[in-house]
């Protein structure tokens, strides 16, 4: 009987511990769904190509939180520098990470450092392809 308050406290703390872990598990859910129609591109690249010329002539668009290759033009995007269509350099620095999907539905993660966070790019802005040597890492998940 003397131990009862301690037991209640332990139950509450345990519930909190489980709730914290559940919260962490929720945060680790990947919002990318490779089976979504937006994520599958008919003329998508082969994995492990990196910052290859296939990016040229296509724009990176955002659909429902997922990065996909869409229509448009990529003009000039280099590590440490991004220019818009008129050649103006954008004075922002951020980590670049976006993803595309190949025909099999596998995702391709392309990462690098650039002067602009690509998910903040306006829809009207066009960007150019990277050179492969400037790719930091390309991976598949």
């Amino acid at each position: 009987m003397k131990n009862q308050p301690d037991t209640i406290e332990a139950h509450l703390l345990s519930a909190c511990a489980i709730a914290i872990l559940a919260f962490l598990a929720l945060g680790s859910i990947d919002s990318y769904d490779s089976s979504s129609p937006e994520a599958n591109v008919s003329d998508a690249p082969t994995p492990y190509l990196g910052f290859e010329p296939w990016l040229a002539g296509k724009a990176i668009t955002h659909a429902d939180g997922d990065w996909v290759i869409g229509e448009g033009q990529i003009n000039n995007l280099e590590v440490g520098k991004i220019t818009n269509e008129t050649g103006d350099e954008l004075n922002y620095s951020a980590y670049l990470s976006f993803r595309v999907a190949d025909g099999s539905g596998k995702g391709l993660l392309v990462k690098g450092i650039c002067d602009y966070k690509i998910d903040k790019v306006n829809s009207g802005m066009s960007l150019k392809a990277f050179s492969q040597t400037k790719a930091e890492k390309v991976g598949i998940w």
């Binding site: 332990a10 139950h11 680790s28 990318y32 890492k137």
Partner: protein, 143 residues
Amino acid sequence: MLKALISIFLGGAIYVLWRPDSLLMFSWFDLLGVGRQIDWMRVAASGIEMAIPEWAIKSLPQALWFFGGNLMIISIWRAELRLGRLIWLLVLWGFAISLEVGQALAIVPGSYDHTDLLLLIIFGAAALILSTKSNYEEPTRHN
């Protein structure tokens, strides 16, 4: 408890620094206004990503969380309150295993991986063994 917190922190750090930024937590960081700082941390840490084995990035974080969770439950419950400890450990194990099984059955978001499940079991068992060992050693030290 300190070991538990360190373990959970390490697991979280791996997620934040080296996992794809499509994870839900990254949209939370943006909402909290720390997305840019997190981006820079990821840039700084990206140099050593190549040196880290894939399993350590993909499977280790949740195993560390599970390890920490087990240690937390064990440290909350005193040794004489075995039933309560057992119940909450079962809840924790049930939760973790059901998430993995749920992924295998495509009920839970994410992709099932044998390594995830294997590491969960290894780290969970390690936490239980470590705490059992320290429980036995504790009275010896006082004597």
